[in-house]
């Protein structure tokens, strides 16, 4: 991809986050616990896919590329999604905790991004916010249900929370690119959202009788293309068609 301007870089990050998360949700197709939940998960996955397209189209316009090339012709080293999104699908509790911590973060982040100085990002955020409000309603509901459900659902929720906690710190990590953009009022400062986010999630975990680990490991790397081994496997599946038949179209 070479050198990229800050705004394109940011749009690519948001697009990659949404695309990879969408793929993990789509992996529930055919294995959700109930038919209703299967439809709901696929629905949310499509919301993220839609957002990914808007972001990648924006990058495509700025860099003389297009959404398909960006999605299907980059390898893991060029992907800039957060590590949290690429972690394996896990069990239903893991899927719901990951969704919940993301939703609470996105409610804050996209809430502010809607007032961005950049009209394209502001428009993407305005559309996303309606979807996020619904995602949040669902994931908050499931955290409570799993926590107060059966012994097994509560235990699985606790285990999932410990696993998810490994990768939440990166949600709040800033680098030079986003610091410059935040200075120009184009994006929110992620690090400034951390306390508000904790104030939103902790009482809900407490109400669900689960507890996150005391420490939040400072694991990061996704933004620099340094990923866990899971992304390579995800991409090899997601991109298999374009790898086998480059340029293939519908």
């Amino acid at each position: 991809m070479g050198e990229m301007d800050d705004l394109s870089c940011l749009a690519l990050r948001l697009g990659d986050d949404a695309l990879i998360h969408s793929h993990r949700l789509a992996e529930w197709c055919g294995c959700a616990p109930t038919l209703e939940e299967e439809l709901a998960l696929a629905n949310v996955a499509l919301d993220f896919l839609g957002r990914a397209r808007f972001c990648l189209q924006l990058v495509g316009r700025r860099l003389d590329s297009d959404e398909d090339r960006l999605a299907y012709h980059r390898d893991a080293r060029e992907y800039t999604n957060l590590l949290l999104m690429e972690q394996p699908r896990g069990d239903f509790a893991y899927a719901m905790v990951r969704q919940f911590v993301m939703d609470e973060f996105e409610a804050l982040y996209f809430g502010q991004l809607a007032a961005s100085q950049d009209p394209d990002l502001a428009a993407i955020a305005a559309k996303s916010n309606k979807e996020i409000a619904y995602h949040l309603r669902r994931s908050r509901d499931w955290i409570e249900r799993l926590g107060l459900g059966t012994t097994e659902s509560r235990d699985r929720l606790q285990v999932a929370l410990i696993d998810v906690w490994d990768h939440v710190a990166e949600l709040f990590a800033m680098d030079e690119v986003e610091t410059r953009l935040a200075g120009a009022s184009i994006v929110p400062d992620r690090s400034a959202l951390r306390d508000e986010w904790l104030a939103a999630v902790l009482p809900r975990f407490e109400a669900a009788t689960v507890e996150p680990p005391a420490q939040m490991p400072a694991i990061s790397g996704g933004r620099r293309g340094v990923h866990t081994e899971h992304l390579e496997r995800l991409l090899s599946q997601m991109q298999s068609l374009q790898r086998a038949y480059p340029g293939l179209a519908w």
Binding site: L35, E36, L39, A40, Y134, R137, R138, D141, R145
Partner: protein
């Protein structure tokens, strides 16, 4: 499974001013849950302005065997239909 997630009937009002119409059913843990599932299952293309969900066991339905008593007696009472009456002179619509 069905004890944990009873059956709910879903009614969607597609536009303000219209009635809620039965669109189908689903399983959910409680009414709130059913409402979010109804949104995903039956209003994905923006069909609904309003959704009702009601647990199926709360619906009291007439039985087929009641048909004689419920419906048939109306058949020989044509005067209950507006078409039974001659239109008075000067009235164009009834």
């Amino acid at each position: 499974m069905s004890e944990l997630t009873p059956l709910f009937e879903v009614f969607v009002r597609s536009k303000r001013g219209l009635d809620h119409v039965h669109v189908g059913s689903l399983h959910a843990a409680d009414a709130e849950h059913a409402l979010t599932y109804a949104r995903d299952t039956y209003t994905r293309r923006g069909e609904g302005a309003s959704i009702w969900v009601v647990e199926a066991r709360h619906i009291v339905a007439s039985q087929e065997t009641d048909a004689d008593m419920f419906s048939d007696p109306m058949e020989d009472k044509p005067y209950r239909h507006a078409t039974h009456y001659d239109l008075p002179d000067g009235v164009e619509n009834l």
